[in-house]
Amino acid sequence: MLEDKRILFVDDSPTMRRIIANALKNLGITNYDEAENGLDALEKLHENQYDIVLTDWNMPEMTGREFVEYVRKEERWQSLPILMITTRGMEDDVLTAIRIGVNGYIVKPFTPEILKKKMLDLIG
């Protein structure tokens, strides 16, 4: 179900990008792109069609929050599923994420089971 999806993941940490890429491969997903911050992600969004975006929150240049807010202002990306994967685990963070239009939220460290479940919930 997830194997044929195209995914964009955004994280400023190269370590996290490798970990997410590995986790996606284990889920059978090989069609993915990476971005290192919100600005980079926006460029990729303009160039390609994605089934879901996984994004970190704390990033330089453009944070995950700013990125989501920008994306949600655009008509064509209103229904694009966005899953936030972040170290910010306070209740008000989650509430903010919901308010700005995030569809799913995972606090790091994540497990492959959680990632799979959230992705199936959103695009399965």
Partner: protein, 214 residues
């Protein structure tokens, strides 16, 4: 006002002022109180000034240490992840070979278990990103404190420039600090905050060269 010879001289002058000042009954207690406050605050100012001066010098070094920790763990993490990717690749190749032969169910199970373990190790390296963000947060706090120290120094300079008394007071405080710090307070602070992990990019080759040239 004349040259001030030290902090005790300042306090003595305040006491003289306190003894000789002539004011009405209503104002006198207030002025006595104010003079008492100034006398009390001078030792505190000494401590704050010493801490500001010595503490602020240490912050950039602490901040550099944090950045170094961050870079080191990231490099080490990537080296381990490189190895793990190679292991995963090898395991996949073995699995494919075994699948071709079609008679190695037990070994396949072992390999799948290995794959799971490798994947778990991958995921456990999320610690690097998490600790990195925590270090960055501490670093930001240190930087903010450092900026505040600098602002406080600026304020102290303004105080010094504003009045003759201010100039003399700061001068006297500096003299007193030199006396005190020369003894053990600065020594103690320096011992606690001495950078224990020194790294300035000297290569092993350069170190070896030092030894051969000895």
């Amino acid at each position: 006002m004349g040259e001030v010879s030290g902090i005790n001289d300042i306090i003595r002058r305040i006491e003289t002022l306190d003894a000789n000042i002539e004011l009405d009954a209503q104002t006198l207690p207030l002025v006595h109180d104010l003079i008492g406050f100034i006398k009390d605050i001078i030792p505190l100012m000494l401590e704050i000034n010493a801490f500001m001066r010595d503490g602020s010098q240490k912050i950039p070094s602490a901040s550099n240490n944090l950045q170094f920790v961050s870079k080191t763990t990231e490099m080490a993490t990537h080296e381990i992840l490189d190895q793990l990717e190679l292991v995963t690749q090898k395991v996949n190749e073995i699995k494919e070979e075994l699948n071709k032969e079609g008679n190695s169910e037990k070994i396949l199970k072992h390999i799948e278990s290995l794959e799971k373990k490798t994947s778990d190790i991958f995921l456990s390296f999320q610690f690097q990103d998490i600790t990195n963000q925590q270090l960055e947060y501490v670093n930001r706090i240190l930087q903010a404190i450092y900026q505040k120290f600098i602002e406080l120094f600026d304020t102290s300079l303004k105080v010094r420039a504003r009045t003759l008394f201010g100039q003399d007071l700061i001068l006297a405080i500096e003299k007193e600090l030199q006396k005190r710090n020369g003894e053990n307070a600065l020594q103690k602070f320096n011992n606690v905050t001495t950078d224990i992990v020194r790294h300035n990019g000297v290569s092993q080759e350069a170190i070896d060269k030092y030894f051969t040239e000895k």
